[in-house]
């Protein structure tokens, strides 16, 4: 195969229109909620009104008598089986958060199902509950899972053991000597941060449709990871996976649309009644019944020398994971290996993190998955550290940010094991970091705007302007993925992969790399995605690894098809495959491009050409320089400019500059869109989206889009003041140098906002949610000289 890096790409890197654009601008894109089948039933959920309760009596006879009601599910007539690591039994006798499912009714209309829910006679024994992570750790705190835990710390599940936790419940990572590191410092700086929880708010509330034909279940779900739902549902139903077809039509996941509990209800009801079943959440149900961003209470202690060297950092983090979810472990792992140990070139580092179970809605992935939550605290304390030694905050980061060759890489290897491609070590792509920090500084015109510590960017009466900086990073692992590429007799190609287009542009990226590899036009490629009946296994699109795993897999399958095509053509043309190239729908001689064959002719003569690929071999992921398995890490830097009204506490973001490392942009438009998404979501997270949880009852007080404020177009700067951009440093192990980066854009903006607010008002806002009240509290504290 020729060195593609030397070639001008025909399709990759072009701003081509999305493969899903037409159906989305015409409203024809089929969401799960749009599916209607003959004889369909509609199922509705009875949600727990209590945060912690035992069902002592449940009588569904009156509900069952309602004409039109066809099925009622409770914990008494469903299997009490832990379905996978996402949650316990679909219906349980004990309910652990307000909104958890207590019963399900299916009827011929949604209205009848809703009315019948009211006729369920249910009695609860209300149990003591706890909502705050530190309260939950006290010895007298109510125990939330007494059946398998002796305290509220998260240590995995009996049915899904998770190792690595120490006896006291902490997951720890240490390298170098933290005590020595801190003792070598001229100054030690400490800081605390508690981040707001944030709801993902997928625009389409979750929906599922299930239908049985004979012994075959077809389920249409709205999930980013349909493939990983398969073992759980097959195990629960006790049928082979080959009897289940899962099709995912996913609308905007933001990390959160993964486990689909209503899949279990719909499948069971459809089986019992012999009729198709639809379940659709309301907006409120999508708030209370799904997952939210983790809350980290973080304490960081960093040692610095006056010359700007970081001598060590200690981090302690308590994660409020909510009622129940195995996601906690992964987010804890992410926090441990990203913000607390891998953002900087630490020589000495110690981080410890504990997951705590509480009676609030469960934690799930939301754009960043442990990275932004941890980095928020780290980047606030690093700003303090730069201030303590009177160094420009950007110079401080340039001096200390992690780079290829940092000793932390060795530590990573030791922690994760030498052959784990999911948590591989840092690769050479990390050297984009310093470059993008400099670019960010330049594009935001920092040198002119930054007036030094303790000097706001501008003061106009009660209004003060500030500018703040932060960095961030997130890794994109390699996960299982297989692809098929079929070259049809007319020279077009169909590519099949079971990962999902959720809005990020996956379908388009797959089509672009396949077209590039096969040398055919973009419009001749049709991706068929997320349908288990025709696609192979592919984990799904989470953790920003769609590009590194699934686009890569599609590209490799296309390369496989291309090899076959060139071998056949070489034989016909009396040459060897290495003398041939494929471009613009032709295979031609490199030395003599006039000598060529059309790809349609080659495919037609072969009837079809099949290209396949299954998982990247470990050997393909070894960095030749270090000899280590690598994982792709994307870095970012952000500068935010704010105006704070010191009379009202209002913060207005006036300008945002974010620069991200993408490897190579397969489609520049889609890369820019993903960067905008991350930056805007981070802005909302700390300035206007605040899940209000009643700490006496555990109730979510604002589960609607009137009281829960998502950014509108007026809440973000206009185009001239919104700079979301990328740098390209080809990642040697990604498809055409591309890599996953999407969630990275979310990591630096939140602390940059907080740091900008500090620059404006001269006092640090301790609260993670920077509300007007938090600003006024901070100003009051400053006034009183505290």
């Amino acid at each position: 195969m020729e060195n593609t890096a030397e070639l001008e790409y025909s399709v990759v890197g072009k701003r081509l229109p999305r493969k899903d654009a037409i159906e989305k601008v015409t409203g024809k894109f089929q969401c799960t909620a749009d599916i209607q089948l003959p004889g369909m039933l509609y199922a509705k959920i009875l949600h727990s009104p209590y945060s912690h309760a035992r069902i002592v009596k449940i009588d569904t006879s009156k509900a069952e008598e309602v004409p039109g009601v066809k099925c009622v599910l409770t914990h008494l007539n469903t299997k009490k089986m832990h379905v996978n690591w996402h949650f316990g039994p679909p219906l349980d006798e004990v309910l652990h958060y307000q909104g958890e499912e207590a019963a399900v009714v299916a009827a011929i209309t949604p209205k009848i199902a809703e009315e019948a829910l009211k006729l369920i006679d249910i009695e609860y024994e209300v149990l003591p509950a706890v909502y705050d992570s530190e309260e939950a750790l006290k010895p007298d705190a109510p125990l939330i899972h007494p059946d398998y835990r002796s305290d509220n710390t998260f240590r995995g599940y009996p049915w899904q053991p998770i190792g690595r936790m120490d006896e006291d419940g902490f997951l720890r990572l240490e390298y170098g000597d933290i005590n020595k590191g801190l003792s070598e410092a001229d100054i030690i700086v400490e800081g605390d941060n508690t981040n707001p929880m944030q709801f993902p708010i997928s625009p389409a509330p979750r929906a599922v449709v299930a239908d049985w034909q004979g012994d075959q279940l077809t389920a249409w779900i709205d999930s980013q990871t349909p493939n990983s739902q398969m073992p759980g549902i097959a195990g629960y139903l006790g049928i082979p996976q080959s009897k289940i077809r899962i099709i995912s039509h996913c609308i905007g996941g933001y990390g959160n649309k993964q486990p689909v509990k209503c899949l279990y209800f719909a499948a069971l009801i459809a089986k019992k009644t012999g009729r198709p079943v639809k379940m659709q959440y309301t907006r409120e149900e999508d708030f209370i019944g799904t997952h939210r961003r983790v809350e980290f209470k973080v304490h960081n202690k960093v040692g610095v020398k006056k010359d700007g060297t970081i001598t060590g950092m200690y981090s302690k983090c308590i994660a409020n994971q909510g009622a129940d979810t195995g996601f906690a472990f992964i987010s804890m792992g992410t926090a441990l290996v990203e913000p607390f140990t891998l953002l900087y070139d630490f020589k000495n580092s110690k981080a410890e993190i504990m997951g705590v179970t509480t009676n609030i809605t469960s934690y799930g992935a939301v754009n960043g998955f442990g990275a932004p939550e941890g980095m928020y605290g780290v980047e606030k304390v690093m700003d303090k550290a730069a201030e303590a030694i009177d160094m420009d905050p950007i110079e401080f980061r340039l001096r200390n940010c992690i780079h290829y060759g940092s000793p932390a890489i060795e530590m990573q290897q030791a922690f994760n094991g030498p052959k784990d491609p999911v948590w591989g070590v840092l690769g050479p792509d990390l050297d984009a970091f310093r470059h993008l920090i400099e670019k960010c500084r330049e594009d935001a015109n920092w040198k002119e705007k930054w007036k030094g510590w303790h000097t706001p960017a501008a003061v106009n009466g009660a209004k003060r302007k500030g500018i703040g900086f932060a960095i961030g990073m997130h890794h994109a692992p390699y996960w299982a993925s297989s692809s098929f590429v079929i070259m049809n007799p007319d020279g077009s190609a169909t590519v099949m992969n079971n990962a999902v287009e959720i809005g990020q542009g996956f379908k388009t990226a797959v089509a672009q790399v396949v077209a590039e590899s096969l040398g055919i036009s973009y419009d001749k490629v049709t991706p068929v995605l997320s349908d288990s009946a025709v696609c192979g296994q592919a984990f799904g699109n989470v953790a920003s690894q769609g590009t590194t795993s699934h686009v890569y897999s599609a590209k490799m399958a296309a390369d496989n098809a291309r090899e076959q095509m060139l071998a056949w053509a070489a034989d016909k043309m009396g040459t060897t495959p290495d003398q041939l190239a494929a471009k613009n729908n032709f295979v031609y001689m490199k030395e003599n491009p006039e000598k060529k064959m059309s790809i349609a002719e080659i495919c037609g003569a072969n009837y079809q050409i099949f290209g396949t690929f299954k998982n990247p071999p470990i050997s393909a992921l070894v960095d030749p320089k270090s000899g280590k398995i690598v994982s792709s890490y994307a870095s970012t830097a952000a500068i935010v400019e704010v105006e704070v009204d010191t009379e009202t506490g209002q913060v207005k973001v006036e300008r945002m500059t974010g620069v991200n490392d993408v490897g190579v942009a397969i489609n520049p438009d889609n890369c820019e869109n993903q960067i905008d998404l991350g930056m805007i979501m981070a802005k909302g997270w700390v300035l206007n989206e605040n899940p209000v949880i009643d700490r006496r009852t555990g109730a979510i007080m604002n589960p609607n889009l009137v009281d829960y404020k998502i950014n509108t177009i007026l809440d973000i700067p206009d185009r001239k003041d919104f700079v979301g951009e990328y740098v390209e440093r080809p990642y040697p192990f990604g498809p055409y140098g591309a890599k996953g980066f999407s969630e990275t854009a979310c990591t630096a903006v939140a602390p940059a906002i907080s740091n900008a607010v500090y620059n404006a008002i001269g006092v640090r806002v301790e609260d993670g949610f920077i509300s007007p009240a938090a600003i006024l509290r901070a100003l009051e504290k400053k006034k009183q000289g505290r």
Binding site: R15, P17, R18, D20, A21, I22, K24, V25, T26, G27, K28, F29, Q30, C31, D34, E65, V66, P67, G68, A107, I108, K111, I112, E115, A116, I201, S202, P203, A204, P205, I251, G252, R283, I502, G503, Q504, G505, N667, D669, N670, E672, N673, Q674, D676, L677, M679, I680, M681, N704, L705, V706, I710, N711, T712, I713, L714, D718, R719, F722, G724
Partner: protein
């Protein structure tokens, strides 16, 4: 339809004018326009994100005005001209409306759930103001939430769509002018003859 133990809602047959067609429907008196457009007429481009007037995803045009169909009692839509995203492409050729085409060309969408409502709000703006500023576009789209934060490219697409629509209008005007001049010439020829 079987209504079971649920009390019967008052029902009345009305005529809806949607995308140039007339539909006779008999909704319950409490039904919203969004309910009827989706469930009875099968117009799934009406997206329900919040179902309480906070997000703009269900925006349709009613007599040219952007309207939140999830908040509009269907009975009040009787006799009004309703335009949904499905009614935007050219009915003869199926060609996309220039605003839709601009959204495609600028990749001004991600998950696409807000897109139909966003395009309808943009149409309402451009029908009234063919040459809007970025500020006017932002104001007109401020009731449409894009959770994917695609606002930059949406703004670009609407600015470009405005330019395209102005071009089309200009071309049409000049064609009409040429035709009028031609017919005037003909007339004069005929008068001489």
């Amino acid at each position: 339809m079987q209504t079971g133990g649920v009390s019967n809602m008052e029902k009345k047959t009305i005529i809806l004018h949607v995308n140039g067609d007339q539909y006779e429907v008999t909704p319950s008196s409490t039904a919203t326009l969004a309910d009827v457009l989706r469930d009875e007429l099968g117009l799934m481009g009406i997206r329900l994100m919040c179902n309480e007037g906070a997000c703009g995803a269900c925006t349709v045009l009613m007599d040219g005005e952007p309207t939140l169909s999830c908040m509009m009692p269907v009975m009040e839509a009787e006799g009004k001209e309703i335009l949904t995203i499905e009614g935007l492409p050219d009915p003869v050729t199926g060609e996309l409306h220039p605003i839709q085409q601009a959204f495609v060309d600028h990749n001004a969408l991600q998950c696409g759930f807000c897109t139909p409502g966003m395009i309808m709000s943009a149409k309402a703006l451009l029908d009234k103001n063919p040459d809007p500023t970025e500020k006017e576009i932002r104001k007109a789209l401020s009731g449409n939430i894009c959770r994917c934060g695609t606002y930059r490219k949406i703004t670009e697409a609407v600015l470009d769509a405005a330019a395209r629509l102005r071009n089309i209008k200009q071309q049409k005007n000049s064609t009409e002018k040429t035709n009028t001049e031609k017919s005037e010439e003909q007339e004069s020829v005929w008068s001489i003859g």
